[in-house]
């Protein structure tokens, strides 16, 4: 039986001065924290929830070098425990804003304020919304962005998955173990997902794919009852009990909009992988404009960012 031993932190009301604040607690931040602790940098990691980020929201990871297969929860727990064993410090707090000071950055969190000489932005990304009618209304009532969390509520139900990338296809496969029937709609005529995942889905017994199809509206009374789809043959109404959305990610950069240059899509503009428009602010992982968004690239960015801070402090 799987038992997670990590504790849930509490907010602190202390204000502090530090060499480094790491904003976020996903794989990029966990790697940055491990390296920062080993470099003996006076630091703190501020994470809104339990550390883990998006990686904790998936049931299987099969492409992290050296580990054949592991759950998302286990890999991030191991990363956190390793970082803590070297002295990494975590606090449960959301970063609300970050403003430049003469020789540092003022970081306001939920209940406390930090003055940091350096900042690593590793706040990753949250699931993007499609923005269709019914999406907000039925969130938690049939509309979900986390198959690992909510799949058990759809046992023997009919479920729609929207998207065609790695996450959509991987999570559809996870859901197919629970549901009676799964339909995945994708706006193109082939998946963007890894061929291995795409083949697996195409041969899954209770899965159907609708190509060149988009979701127009989610319908229901108290909870999801069905959808209207735009298909190549025109609008089509179909009955579903649940809708899982994997239509991209929205970078979590709002608190940093006044601090560093952002790209039009909201990601932090970087050069030399982790450097930003401000010399004491670094960015790592899915929050950046780096093209591959995976755990292996996020941890690599995190390590580089901590190393860059170490060099600066010398």
């Amino acid at each position: 039986m799987d038992l997670k031993t990590g504790l849930v932190g509490s907010g602190s009301t202390e204000s502090r001065e530090l060499d480094l604040v790491i904003a976020g607690g996903g794989p990029a931040a966990l790697a940055a924290a491990l390296y920062a602790a080993r470099y003996d940098i006076d630091h703190i990691v501020l994470e809104s929830y339990q550390p883990g980020g998006q990686a904790a929201l998936t049931a299987v990871i099969e492409n992290y070098p050296g580990i054949k297969t592991i759950t998302g929860g286990d890999i991030v727990t191991a990363m956190k425990e390793q970082a803590e064993s070297w002295g990494a410090v975590f606090e449960m707090a959301s970063v609300l804003s970050a403003e430049p000071l003469k020789d540092g950055i003022q970081i306001k969190a939920d209940s406390s304020t930090y003055m940091a000489r350096n900042l690593i932005i590793a706040t990753g990304a949250a699931p993007a919304k499609l923005g269709v009618p019914g999406e907000d209304k039925f969130y938690g009532r049939g509309v979900s962005y986390c198959a690992t969390c909510d799949a058990p509520f759809f046992r023997d139900a009919r479920v729609l998955v929207v998207g065609g990338g790695d996450s959509a296809v991987k999570e559809a496969l996870h859901l197919s173990d629970f549901v009676s029937e799964l339909v995945i709609v994708h706006r193109r005529d082939k998946f963007r997902a890894e061929p291995y995942l795409a083949h697996k889905l195409l041969s899954c017994g209770n899965c159907n794919v609708m190509w060149n199809t988009t979701l127009k509206e989610i319908k229901g009374d108290e909870s999801v009852e069905g959808v209207i789809l735009n298909t190549p043959e025109g609008e089509k109404e179909m009955k579903f009990d649940g809708i899982f959305m994997y239509v991209g990610r929205k970078p979590a950069t709002e608190p940093f909009a006044n601090l560093v240059e952002l790209n039009d899509n909201g990601t932090v503009r970087t050069h030399n992988i982790v450097h930003t428009s401000r010399e004491n602010v670094f960015a790592a992982g899915d929050v950046t404009d780096n093209d591959l968004r995976q755990i292996v690239t996020a941890v690599s960015d995190g390590a580089r960012a901590a190393s860059a801070v170490f060099d600066k402090l010398q």
């Binding site: 504790l7 339990q50 998302g72 425990e81 449960m92 938690g140 969390c149």
Partner: protein, 231 residues
């Protein structure tokens, strides 16, 4: 066979080193019609040996019916975490996966040396003049659930006006259906208004304030409410 691995046990022993006061966990289980009671009992028996500060007692809602009714136990498996002065903090369901982390945190909060709530929440709880029941639906695979579960438990531990129940949604499908839970975490307050997702302590305090002020009579998502108010 042991459920806690050697490394789990070593990690928990280290965590329990932070206990400075005794913490009591009352475990209600029964043999019949409770497929998850045996695992729950085993986990708690294994935890029991890991700290002298942890006092676990095992009860049966049938044979200990008076105590069960005093403790307000409505289903099994049930765990009550307490400093022996109250029974406001309950967990229904097996404490596995991320729920184990919620249970450990609640044990440390109860017997630790620091108050884990912020001043704003303490003020709100101290001023409460009405009772609140917070029922937090969770699943063991949901990484955001401990945030919501632990926050409700912290509030209930602090104020005699608040009771918290962390409910494993898969193990109690009827209850989940009753509250139409299809996503977790979901915190149902007084059986009427609810908060979807894990939110910060400050936001939860604001949501509760708003909910109590407006006293909605039908199911209301307080976050929508707060969002609409804001603009």
């Amino acid at each position: 066979m042991a459920i806690l691995s050697d490394s789990d046990a070593a990690e928990v022993t280290k965590i329990f080193g932070a206990l400075v006061r005794d913490v009591h966990v009352k475990v209600y289980t029964q043999k019949l019609e409770c497929p998850t009671c045996t695992d729950t009992e085993t986990i708690l028996r294994e935890l029991d040996g890991l700290s002298e500060r942890l006092k676990v007692s095992f009860l049966n809602p049938q044979t200990d019916s008076e105590e069960a009714s005093r403790d307000g136990v409505e289903r099994v498996p049930a765990l009550i975490v307490t400093d022996a002065t109250h029974c406001r903090v309950k967990f229904y369901g097996t404490p596995s996966g991320y729920e184990f982390s919620s249970l450990l945190t609640t044990i440390i909060d109860t017997g630790g040396s620091e108050e884990p709530l912020t001043e704003g929440t303490i003020q709100f709880l101290s001023d409460l003049d009405t009772d609140i029941l917070m029922q937090v639906f969770v699943t063991p695979t949901c990484p955001h659930c401990p945030g919501a579960a632990v926050l409700a438990s912290r509030m209930a531990r602090y104020s005699s006006r608040v009771r918290s129940e962390v409910i494993e949604a898969n193990e109690f499908p009827e209850l989940s259906r009753k509250f139409r839970v299809q996503g977790v975490p979901r915190t149902i307050v007084n059986g009427i208004f609810y908060v979807e997702g894990s939110i910060s302590e400050t936001m939860m305090t604001d949501a509760l304030k708003k909910g109590l002020e407006d006293a909605p009579s039908e199911e209301t998502n307080l976050l929508d409410y707060l969002r609409n108010e804001g603009g």
